[in-house]
């Protein structure tokens, strides 16, 4: 990251960010020359032209100036086919691509990972509208009228007696009344610390996957003396297979806004920024609408919301990359410390939390005066004591009742599968927690309960709790190649283990698949160790986990791909 660029961005503020200008000008004005546009932006933002070009060229959906003569370029296509892991496992995308190519011409069809239509698969996008399931059958109509509603349908269920994340918000004004009450009641710094104590007591941990205690994060922002602070909602749900954040933004946006509002109140931040991925156009729309509703309530002059629309880059789900993205810098991962709560957006103290984390706040802060039955008490009583509250699980099309389930932390995985009506097809493993989560073979399923601890103890990762079924037909060698390919595509390119390692890994597996070169066990282990130990962030550091899981549990299937002598050594060790 560049401190200079952060501070130059700060001069303009959140209402005039280089990144949004890039997104808007790229989408809108095709008449003026792109180079001239970007020269003007560089001048306006007092940044080098290379900064503007470098930032724009990072994203899938922004033109790097070469799209006119580069058919491979992914920006500004008429249609996009989803290449997410779930659609891959469902094996639906060959047909989709074929049909889109036929309709639009293959040069006009781009690719995307992923649209969050994992419950139905067969996902694609036309002119900023997402479709899935049987929508492809109406392609002729959709191509002409992309605003035609999708026939999407997925299950939303809850096993709790009192829903937390899936609870309906019937009266918006009443819903925000809790903020009024709390902000009047906890109106001094000492009292705010008391309220933060409650949040800590609830046991809420970050739902993005890392599981950091939310109360502690907010408090570390509160104690910073800076007068300018930010609340940022990480709505860049890029994990293929996950769509719970999309659901919350589309269906329960006020829960998210409420959480951010409280975070602002409890840390001294006056601005809440929602960074929503471009792949979720409906989420952006619904959130915009919710913000208007919030503003119409006239509750406070002390907090405002701003939506930043992403432009296609998985790494922007990493919090420091996300902050750099907003600032108009290249969204590469920054070193920590400083942590965002010390120096985040524009160099100011910033709380970055996941959508679902914010979505849990209203419940936790409800009925605080009722010690026996307060939200805090109810929340912490769910789960195993370390992982508390509820968790939204994204179940992909491999389940009979695909969709979302809200369960209490600690719920056995087998129960979840039962609730989902079992598998829709023959599976051999579940990929849980996104591309960086573990691959759980069927044999291990009964050992797991839905909480951070159980997964970690068994060598897996709960992550953001998306669940993709890997069908019997999927060759695990191909799935590993897919994981490396995904990492290579989405690596920000900063640290060597991930930048180069992901490509070499992809090549090793492609060579093994084609028969060109069998896998060298020692080299593969060295590569996975190097990525795991050496990477700067969880992308390069995390992808070895599912690969190691597969190597461990599907050894027999993979055996033919290894150099024989090496494999024997590997087996012995």
């Amino acid at each position: 990251m560049s401190k200079n660029l952060s501070q130059l961005a700060r001069r303009q503020g959140i209402e005039n960010t280089l990144f949004q200008k890039l997104v808007i000008t790229d989408a809108a004005d095709k008449s003026t020359n792109l180079t001239q546009q970007r020269t003007a932006l560089a001048k306006e933002f007092l940044m080098g032209e290379a900064v503007v070009h470098g930032a724009a060229s990072f994203y899938d959906f922004l033109d790097d100036g070469t799209s006119h003569n580069n058919k491979q370029h992914n920006a500004n296509k008429k249609a996009y086919v989803c290449n997410g892991s779930s659609c891959l496992c469902a094996n639906t995308q060959g047909t989709i691509k074929e049909k889109l190519d036929k309709e639009f011409g293959s040069d006009n069809v781009g690719h995307v990972i992923c649209l969050g239509r994992c419950a139905e698969n067969s996902a694609f996008q036309i002119s900023n509208h997402n479709f899935s399931g049987t929508d492809i059958d109406n392609l002729a109509i959709l191509a002409n009228e992309p605003s035609t509603a999708s026939n999407e349908h997925y299950q939303v269920r809850c096993t709790l007696t009192e829903p937390i994340l899936t609870a309906e918000i019937l009266d918006v004004a009443k819903y925000y009344q809790l903020f009024i009450t709390l902000s009047e009641q906890f109106n001094t710094p000492e009292k705010q610390h008391k309220l933060l104590d409650k949040l800590v007591e609830s046991g809420l941990r970050g739902r993005g996957g890392a599981g950091f205690p939310t109360g502690i994060k907010w408090r570390s922002c509160l104690i910073e003396e800076n007068t300018e602070k930010y609340i940022v909602c990480n709505a860049d749900e890029g994990d293929a297979g996950a769509f719970s954040d999309r659901y919350l933004l589309e269906q329960r946006p006020h829960a998210v806004l409420f959480g951010m509002l409280m975070a602002g109140f409890l840390t001294g931040a006056k601005t809440g920024v929602l960074y929503i991925r471009a792949e979720y156009p409906a989420a952006i729309k619904q959130t915009e609408q919710a913000i208007s509703e919030f503003e119409a309530l006239n509750l406070t002059n002390d907090f405002c919301f701003k939506i930043i629309k992403g432009a296609g880059a998985y790494i922007c789900g990493e919090e420091t990359a996300l902050l750099r993205s907003i600032e108009g810098q290249r969204p590469v991962v920054s070193v920590r410390p400083p942590f965002p709560t010390q120096s985040g957006l524009f160099g100011c103290p910033t709380v970055v939390n996941n959508v679902e984390t914010f979505g849990s706040i209203h419940f936790i802060f409800s009925n605080l005066s009722d010690t026996q039955n307060s939200g805090v008490t109810k929340y912490k009583n769910l789960g195993n004591g370390k992982s508390t509250g509820s968790k939204l699980l994204s179940l992909d099309g491999a389940f009979k009742y695909s969709g979302l389930i809200e369960v209490a932390m600690g719920t056995p995985l087998v129960d979840v599968i039962k609730l989902a009506g079992g598998f829709a097809r023959e599976l051999k493993a579940l990929h849980i927690g996104g591309p960086l989560g573990g691959v759980v073979p069927l044999s291990e399923i009964d050992k797991l309960t839905i909480d951070f601890e159980s997964f970690a103890e068994n060598g897996f990762l709960l992550g953001h709790a998306s669940i993709i079924g890997i069908p019997n037909a999927m060759k695990m060698i191909n799935y590993i190649a897919h994981l490396f390919e995904f990492t290579a595509l989405e690596s920000c390119g900063k640290c060597y283990p991930c930048q180069i390692g992901s490509v070499r890994g992809q090549e090793m597996f492609e060579q093994a698949i084609s028969g060109e070169q069998a896998l060298n066990h020692e080299l593969l282990n060295d590569l996975l160790d190097t990525m795991q130990l050496g990477s700067l962030c969880a992308l390069g550091g995390g992808v070895p986990l599912p690969i190691q899981n597969i190597l461990q549990y599907f050894e027999a299937e993979l055996m033919p791909y290894f150099i024989h002598s090496e494999l024997v050594k590997g087996v012995q060790s």
Binding site: N4, D64, P337, C495, S502, R504, Q511, L536
Partner: protein, 933 residues
Amino acid sequence: MSQSLKVESKQAFLNGVAYEIKKGETILSFSRRLNEDQTIPTLCDDTRLEPYGSCRLCSVDVALTADGSRKVMASCHTPIGEGMHIFTHSPRIEKLRKNIIELVLSDLPEQTLVNSQNHPRTEFEQVVVDTGVGQVRFKQGRKSVASVPFTINKKGESKLCDESHPYMRMDLSLCIDCNRCVRACDEIQGEQVLSVAGRGFDARIIKGQDVSFNESDCVSCGACAQTCPTGAISDVFRQQLARVDVSQHIKKVRTICSYCGVGCNLEISVQNNKILSIEAPKDAAVNSGHTCLKGRYAWRFYDHDDRLDSPLVKIDGKLTKVSWDYAFDYIATRLTKIKTKHGSDAIAGISSARCTNEENYLLQKMMRVVIGTNNIDCCARVCHSPTAYGMQQSFGTGAATNSIDDLQQTEFILLIGANPTAAHPVTGAKIKQKVMKGTPLIVLDPVKTELARFANWHIQLRPGTNVAVLNMMAYFIIDAGLVDNNFVNTRTEEYQRYYQEIMLLNIDELADIAGVNKNQVKQAAIAYAKANKAMSFHGLGVTEHSQGSRAIMCIADLVMLTGNVGRQGVGMNPLRGQNNVQGAADMGCQPHQGAGYFPVDESEAISYYQEHYQITQKNTWPTKIGYKIPEMFNAALAGDLKALWVLGEDVVQTDPNQQHVVASLANLELLIVQEIFLSETAKMADVVLPGTSFLEKSGTFTNGERRVQKVNAVVTPKKGCKTDGEIIVDMMNALNYPQEQYSSGIELAEKVLAEISEVVPFFAGITWQNLGVDGLQWPVAKDGTDTQILHIDSFKRGLGKFHFFEFEESQEVLANSNKFPFILTTSRNLVHYNAGTMTRRTDNEEIVSEDVLLVNNQDAINKGITNRSKVKLFSARGEITLTAQISDKVKPGILFTTFHFPELMVNRVTGDITDKHTQCPEYKVVAVDIRKL
């Protein structure tokens, strides 16, 4: 001390041994400080840059107890913590490093590994050897260089390596994506010409919007090339590959740049008396491993074919090669004759701010002690003489009150009439870094300079109205009750009178005169006054005016009003234009003050000098104040001045009103010029003595923050030439003065410096030996203690003195603006230096090859001028032809040009109005008109 009072220091363990930790240290800096034998390898680290954490090579094992579980952490961005156990070379760490290097090598040409093993030349190849990587096990795969587009070079060939630029080179097949170049461009130079395009494996370094170096906005500072660990970004000199190699006779010599008053240290690689390349040493206090394209790349002039290689004497109207003995005899005879016939004061000298302190000292000594006149001046006359004078009036010392390093502490910057990113690039870059990171900046300048773009308040006043705007600022500060009363009451005098005058000002009228928005001035003034620590910088845009000295005192007034002097992070800091212009004045190359600034006409000072120069006959010390440079020309024209000795200055090209200068020189009986090239002035000379460049001499330069630094000869003087100091010493001897003749350049430097430290009180503690690598800032006490900040407890003159001056319109404008309604103002650009004598004999000429005239669009329309059209520029003195460029950098009615191409004769149009107090010419305000050709 009793046991209980002893403060427990915090400790951490490095490979099992406990050491004290320091606040703010990372594991890497902790380890580097303590363990020199087993260093942690790095690739993306450069100590001048923020920790980046991309190469991961610096990973170490960290545990919280000696036997506790270990975690791999990157040491460059992990703070060391109390009780940590760091293992820098555990087996798994060594393996990790090997594996990382193997990955990096897998994306580089195969030859890289072989090269590393045979003869590591680059930082990267050395790391390959150190980590012990012997092979790349991956089957040949994709190479990221495949995505790099080719660049057209100057010959029109399409090449992978970008060879489009006169200096810079980029070959991305060698790039390891450490981004040191990108970060150096941003964090050191502040230019952001470099960034990265794409992401992941295919991410690659770009210039601008993916253009060639030549098409980009690159300022050729070379910071990227210096930091690149592989040579992927380099320059035509391959600076980072030059290593000390005894077998190849390659050595490195450290010296001081001679281009501007910043005083950058340079590290010069030399092989067999030939310069290979120049780098900036990282440990230099002044420039910490940075310099600009002049310092780093514009050195080829030193052995240029145009160099003079023999003394010349005009025989039958033609400059003819003669021997040194002949030349000295000839001069001695003629000078003696003139002195006998017309007296000592018929002889004058102009010294050079480009030369060393020792040479300046010797020349003024020759003029005063041997010739017997105070007719000695230097080019400070035409640049910062008002600074020296004005600051002496206000504070008592005519030099920067603080150090450039104070920028780190300051919280506010006031920049007046200076364009440091062009004229003082390293200081300019430091200011830009501060401002980009949020330090507020006021720029007072008629031109929208690079820093003005970043300024919170750019007060774009009409040239020549500094006094008006500075008085407005004072008014607003007083009016808002923001005067630092405690400072004013205890440290200053004459405030009441000043206050009364200021409060009587008609602000609206002043705003109107200066063409500024009074509310903007008010906001700026109030912000300045409210800042805890504000530093002011100024340049020739303040001094080269008819009210130059007065404007200086107005700045001093603001500084005192707000108590911004005598502390860290504040002060009033002139940006000295030439490398040793501070030194030339310090050494006494001024007609009214001798070495050390004693007034030549006061009895106490006369005795002091007589004693020091062992003058026994009381009447031989010159007591009359001598001629200032413009007075020399007038006296020559009037026939009063007969002989002039010019050291390293091309007055024909650089002094204003050229016709007048030429006529004056032509009227002399004897003109002696010490030069390295046959300059326009040298062409008029009766005797030309071939001197040497800074690269061939030893001595000291004093930079703009009073820092006296060692200049070390890098190569021997060109055959046939003598160092300028040697020439003066020989001349003194030829005039029968027994100045010691030194056996070597070093001996001259050492002994003359010793003599200076006897005469100049603020050099008292300076010796050649104790200057060390970073020099000392004067005043230097006998014990060697130097001074970063002046006027801490009291001003040199006791109390700081307020001066009020009313704005006065320049005579130039009053007399000529009816006929010549435009105002021309001039300045330096980044690429060239003054008359271009040196820079234009390098490839800098390819980067900028002409002076252009900036014209506001509105004026261009009115005058029918288009971009690149030729225009005639004319004043009351003369006319010249220039190429126009339409620009929003100047307001309507204002024209701007640079002055590096003297053949364009900008000084044909400049006038001879000067500052009332110092006779510094008013270069910055010329009434002109333009016409499209």
